[in-house]
Symmetry: C2
Subunit: 401 residues, 2 copies
């Protein structure tokens, strides 16, 4: 006698994890150098040296009881003050320390934010495709309905026709993710202004707030688009979900935060509900040492030079081979159109050649493949002949159709 839902979630791994485990198994069988694993979004650039220095400094020079003790449930007050100051200085956002809640990473941030906004049985949460597949798990865990907006296949911005159909009076929040996993697209200022305008009109129509939940762990990993346009600047009913997993290459340490705009409607109530939801899900406080580390290195991030180099080699290589790709301005994913259009069968053909890429179907975007390029540059180069063969096969044998 156990929860069938939890059993299913626990025994069926996500397709990404599945592929990753398969890759490990194949590496043992045929040798690591013969497996081309582009499945996982695990940073390969080391954390900046400042992270190590901060850890050693805190451990060597602070009282251990204070370092490892409970912080307040909201998080260490001085760390929250530094983050507040950083958000103001870098993104010109107004988020006071008492609107910041330290979390165990982005997944926790999302679960907690969604739970905080649950209002009634009819609640719907809308994700803009392509979206990270776990959004569905998190929304459904709270008992709400998960709705999706069709991709904008032209530019991988937001498909406003679809959004307009999906958002209704039961919509509690729209979940966006820019820089986007899996497409690598960064929402432009114009997109965000249009989104804000659209939601303002709907808020007025329905007479209640519609929040944006902005999942932005990749915001420091941008290449050519200048300043990161933060949606909170354009729309105040925004709850930011942040994680240091990618920017500081600390995915295993589970450290991030939720920031509720000072100017959001019901800002203080939403924040209290965030605190309550953290408590209800068993998040007593975020890991204390890494809260302090995050405070110490505020504003610093890993060197993304390698990701940029990988992106250029991969993007140029694949387009030269005839692949059609979204040009990624951020994150470390290339979103490639499956030659022939069928991502599942193309993924299978690739898997036969030990090239592991993730079909876009789970991201709400069939026909595309996610290629993670947070891998060694050398593996990308070695994989090019395999991509070439797959394209040739695809043209002659119609795989992927």
């Amino acid at each position: 006698m156990f929860s069938e839902r939890m059993f299913q979630l626990g025994s069926r791994r996500s397709s990404i994890r599945e592929l990753f485990e398969y890759g490990k198994m194949r590496a043992e069988l045929v040798g690591r150098e013969n497996v081309f694993d582009f499945s996982l979004g695990n940073p390969t650039v080391p954390p900046p040296e400042e992270v190590k220095d901060a850890i050693i400094n805190i451990i060597e020079n602070s009282d251990s009881v204070a370092v490892h003790g409970y912080t307040s449930a909201q998080g260490d007050a001085s760390v929250r003050a530094r983050i507040s100051e950083h958000l103001s200085r870098k993104y010109r956002l107004s988020v006071s320390p008492d609107r910041i809640y330290m979390t165990c990473g982005a997944a926790a941030s999302l679960v907690i934010s969604i739970s905080a906004l649950r209002y009634c049985d009819k609640d719907e949460f809308v994700a803009v495709a392509p979206y990270f597949p776990e959004y569905k798990v998190f929304v459904e865990e709270t008992g709400a309905a998960f709705k999706t907006v069709e991709p904008d296949y032209a530019n991988f911005q937001i498909n406003f026709d679809s959004l307009s159909e999906v958002v209704n009076e039961n919509t509690r929040a729209v979940i966006i993710n820019s820089p986007n996993n899996p497409s690598g697209a960064v929402y432009r200022e114009e997109t965000l202004r249009n989104l804000a305008d659209f939601l303002c009109v709907r808020e007025a129509e329905y007479g209640h707030p519609i929040y944006i939940i902005s999942d932005e762990p990749y915001r420091e990993i941008i290449y050519d688009c200048g300043e990161y346009p933060s949606v909170m600047r354009y729309y105040s009913d925004t709850i930011m979900c942040y994680s240091y997993s990618k920017s500081l290459s600390l995915p295993g340490e589970r450290i991030g935060y939720i920031a509720v705009s000072d100017n959001a409607k019901d800002s203080s109530e939403i924040y209290a509900a965030v605190c309550g939801a953290g408590r209800a899900h068993g998040y007593v406080c975020a890991p204390s040492l890494f809260q302090k580390v995050a405070g110490e290195v505020c504003g610093i991030h890993s060197d993304i030079g390698v990701y940029r180099k990988n992106r250029d080699i991969l993007y140029n290589g694949l387009t030269d081979l005839g692949y059609s790709c979204v040009h990624p301005d951020g994150a470390f994913y290339l979103f490639v159109k499956a030659p022939g259009g069928n991502s599942i069968s193309f993924g299978k053909a690739a898997k036969k050649r030990d090239l592991l890429i993730v079909p876009g179907d789970d991201f709400g975007c069939p026909g595309y493949m996610r290629v993670s390029y947070c891998v060694s540059t050398e593996m990308i180069k070695r994989a090019m002949p395999v991509f070439k063969k797959l394209m040739e096969e695809s043209c002659s044998d119609n795989i992927g159709q």
Copy 2:
């Protein structure tokens, strides 16, 4: 528009936290030396030196990408192997590494275990009073009913008459906590055998398993009762929820684990449901550095000499003053009968004198007060005259009645 339930949970602090915050405020007003704060269960003994050594060693000598990267959702395999071996050697338990799931501490362990066992709308979870108040929050978060067993006022073991009335065919699990917060009692072997016998009979009667969820973060903090009797040895349908918060004085780092007995009914399905519940609540993996630290220092714990000394001074001091206390064999709490019998009014009278102790009402045990002695020995000594005054007042003015 937000979740009323989460708002309430977030804006009304637990009474323990409330008292703690009051204490900080008073300390600023009247001076730290004039406030006697016995409210929180925050370890004051530093982590063992081996923890610091392990952190420095890992940070200095391991590849930073591996140290801080995602572990598998279950937790680092070598760490789970060490824990499995430790549970076998120290407590003679049979828990294979693939039945261990690393968590962000005891609260996470509990939420996840309860979620994993949720079966249908009628599910009930039973806690044996006195119990940690957050159990109610965690059970109700999953939508199940929270039921309680009356305290055994004679010995603070288990009141089997009450248990017998409360357990029924809808009971999914009985939650126990030994060494107990707030009473400090340690369940004796005889108690655990009786509990196992009782549940075996009921399992047979209802034709389905009834699990024990054993919340045991204090098991290394025991004083006079020899070997810790682990309930899993007596009853195989047991899910152990463990945390290093108290044994290694790392409460802020959020590191612990769930262990499902190899011999539990549906052991592998329960374990899969645990993994699924972790995923659904947003726990991607437990903090990776501290997973590795926990593996390195497996079997080591903080020096509990100070707690023992505090216990003796406090227990002897209060009984000499005429207080009636449960003799605590473990944890770092003294459970004192409120003179006059009313814990709320006695707590208020104490608060007026800046002596902060927690009424037992929230623990399902009115008439008692929890006095945390994980404080400085010197504060305990300074507090004795205040306890004396309160007892005198209580005898003359009938406070606490």
